[in-house]
């Protein structure tokens, strides 16, 4: 079988639940978030991008790294499950973002053991986007509604079924467990005809990533950052809904009579992010913090990891309470050229 009828998906997820923890999109009122499901019917597949990205599957909002034992000895504790995990129903942008997290946390010299342990257990089954949102700009960021980057299996909706595109060996292993096989077609092909008719909303938005980086690198000290970020209220929404953001803080807290060391999400948009023990803050203004967010994503990540720290999912565009639209900022810089 190289296509899964839509109505059979819950049954297929139930079969996976036998030996896997399955994260899938779950609805809470107006919010859609990736959570471990108890039954295949809990998953909502018709939704567009989830409200928050699924990056917490690999980087939980809070995880305990160490807890104290008796005396001075410390025991390492990793709260991740031992059973294999399937992330089901992620979108291609989210899967692609995990390839950035891999480069940062699982490649190179700074391998993060907590991340790696989760990563080794994870198989990603994404669903291609037949109907991208108006806020999507994945294509401009080098991905696309049917990009297979980061996915182990990519599903494509086609006449009430999901065509199966097997991408990796890990995907092949999962597919064979489920009794499905590769459709042998180009991902996105089934959607191409419809796409031509309607025009593709995830099409580039006039952002040339090369031009953009040159322009940004030349603009570090430009007073324009103040004007751009003037309306920013300094909350952490953009970083916390983002699939690519990965900054964290490490805190020591007390729980149940023992000390524990936790890793929690943090955001460069908070003043406390760079505040030093002396009270000195190298990024004292909202403008310097907003500049950091943009520079990190569109310059430093490219220098350090060979890809931008943005996959164009558009969540920060949708959720920003003051409509500070990152696409507009990028367009403005791209239009300035390398100066």
């Amino acid at each position: 079988m190289n296509a899964i009828p839509g109505r059979q998906v819950p049954r297929l997820l139930d079969a996976l639940l036998g030996g896997h923890v399955v994260f899938a999109p779950v609805r809470h009122g107006r919010i859609v978030a990736f959570e471990p499901i108890a039954s295949g019917s809990d998953a909502v597949l018709g939704c567009s991008n989830s409200t928050v990205s699924p990056r917490h599957v690999l980087l939980p909002r809070m995880e305990t790294l160490l807890t104290s034992c008796s005396g001075d000895a410390y025991a390492r504790e990793c709260t991740c499950p031992d059973s294999p995990v399937v992330l089901f129903g992620s979108r291609p942008c989210d899967a692609r973002a995990l390839t950035l997290l891999d480069r940062i946390l699982s490649g190179g010299a700074n391998r993060d053991v907590y991340y790696q342990r989760r990563r080794d257990l994870l198989t990603i089954v994404s669903i291609g986007c037949a109907r991208p949102l108006e806020t999507c700009f994945c294509t401009a960021m080098g991905g696309g509604p049917f990009s297979t980057d980061g996915s182990d299996i990519l599903l494509e909706e086609c006449e009430g079924s999901f065509l199966v595109h097997v991408v990796t060996e890990r995907g092949r292993a999962l597919a064979s467990k489920l009794g499905v096989c590769d459709a042998g077609r180009r991902p996105g092909g089934a959607t191409a005809a419809a796409e031509e008719e309607t025009g593709h909303p995830a099409a580039p938005t006039g952002i040339d990533p090369g031009m953009l980086k040159g322009s940004l690198d030349a603009s570090f000290d430009d007073p324009v950052w103040r004007a751009i970020s003037e309306r920013c209220i300094g909350c952490g929404i953009c970083s916390y809904v983002c699939p690519s953001c990965h900054c964290f803080d490490i805190v020591d807290e007390e729980a149940g009579g023992s000390a524990c060391r936790k890793r929690v999400w943090d955001s460069c948009q908070f003043a406390s992010f760079t505040e030093q023990a002396s009270g000195f803050n190298p990024r004292p203004t909202g403008a310097s913090r907003y500049r950091q967010r943009i520079m990190h994503k569109f310059s430093y990540c490219i220098d350090d990891y060979g890809m931008a720290g943005c996959v164009g999912c558009g969540r920060c565009v949708t959720e920003c309470p003051v409509n500070l639209d990152i696409r507009e900022v990028l367009k403005a810089f791209a239009a300035r050229g390398a100066l």
């Binding site: 919010i31 978030a33 309470p321």
Partner: protein
């Protein structure tokens, strides 16, 4: 007066204030980058005043931008926004003579989420205003809804649609709504403790600690918020329900008698958490105990900053009964 006429009035007043040099910049709204959005903006040049818009989506409380500005600002302010300006002046955070308030009577702002519900699945391309109606263009057709049916929750219970104070008033006043008797608070309070605990722990379990509620709030201006303190650390940094609830409850307590019910926290929350329920409860208590509703009077002393021998003392004599 239609919103289009109000928009013209706002542009004229902003251009005049800038041209006369009375302000360095005007904080107002410009067209957003998405349907059903208006974006806060700063206009510092009289010619730029034409960017300003006024429509059913100008929901942000712009008084948020007044504190700590190194410029003389003019601000476009609805009833609720002026209520927070009143409180900020009382708390000596904004000097009355450093700000020019462009007061705008407000019929309530539309909630894009409710409009999307009305439109059904598919993409809303635009929403136009026609009198008291909104005409939604979606899926190749149009749907007309009454503004009153799609108001933000805070707007639906608003007690002050006209500016409390203004230096320049744009348009004519709008009739105030019938008084708000905190029916929602009474309903929630009547549930048993177990139910309420379940409701709030369920709501708080979604919190991601992005602090958008705090950042959007005009009255949340502490130089250092208690959640950011590290010595001592009052609240854990994680997303455990205890820590999350501690943050939100302490925020509510800190806003008691100061919250102007503008709904900025709730609108900013990306996780759709019922933040207003807690703040509304504190507002109801302050009104019952002190006869005070924040921001409605520039002269009334803030109840938690002023002592009156007649203040209720029950909380000391019979804890839990106050």
């Amino acid at each position: 007066m239609s919103n289009a006429d109000m928009q013209t009035g706002i542009r004229e007043e902003a251009a005049r204030l800038l041209a006369e040099g009375r302000v360095d910049a005007v904080v107002g709204f410009e067209e957003g980058s998405l349907p059903m959005r208006a974006a806060p903006c700063f206009v510092s040049d009289p010619d730029g005043a034409d960017r300003l818009v006024w429509n059913a989506f100008c929901s942000n409380n712009l008084s948020r931008y007044l504190r700590g500005s190194d410029r003389r600002l003019g601000v476009v302010a609805k009833g609720c926004d002026t209520r927070s300006i009143v409180e900020l002046i009382k708390e000596r955070q904004v000097a009355r003579d450093s700000v020019v308030v462009i007061g705008v009577p407000c019929r309530g702002m539309a909630d894009p989420r409710l409009l999307s519900d009305k439109a059904g699945p598919g993409r809303i391309t635009s929403v136009e205003e026609a009198g008291d109606d909104l005409v939604i263009s979606a899926n190749g057709g149009t749907i007309t809804v009454r503004l009153d049916e799609v108001l933000h929750r805070s707007c639906a219970v608003c007690v002050r649609r006209n500016p409390v104070l203004s230096d320049v008033l744009v348009g004519e006043g709008v009739p105030e709504r019938p008084g708000d008797s905190f029916g929602d608070v009474a309903e929630l309070s009547s549930r048993d403790a177990g139910d309420r605990w379940e409701h709030f722990s369920d709501e708080m379990s979604r919190c991601i600690r992005c602090y958008a509620c705090r950042s959007a709030c005009p009255m949340c201006y502490c130089t250092r918020c208690f959640v950011d303190d590290t010595g001592p650390r009052w609240v854990g940094r994680g997303t455990g329900v205890g820590d999350v609830l501690s943050f939100h409850l302490m925020r509510v307590m800190h806003l008691a008698g100061r919250c102007v019910e503008c709904g900025a926290c709730e609108r900013a929350c990306p996780m759709d958490i019922d933040l207003a329920a807690l703040n509304r409860k504190s507002c109801a208590d302050v009104e019952r105990l002190f006869g005070y509703r924040a921001g409605l009077s520039p002269d009334a002393p803030a109840p938690l900053s002023a002592f009156d021998p007649g203040d209720p003392q029950d909380f000391m004599l019979e804890p839990g009964q106050g």
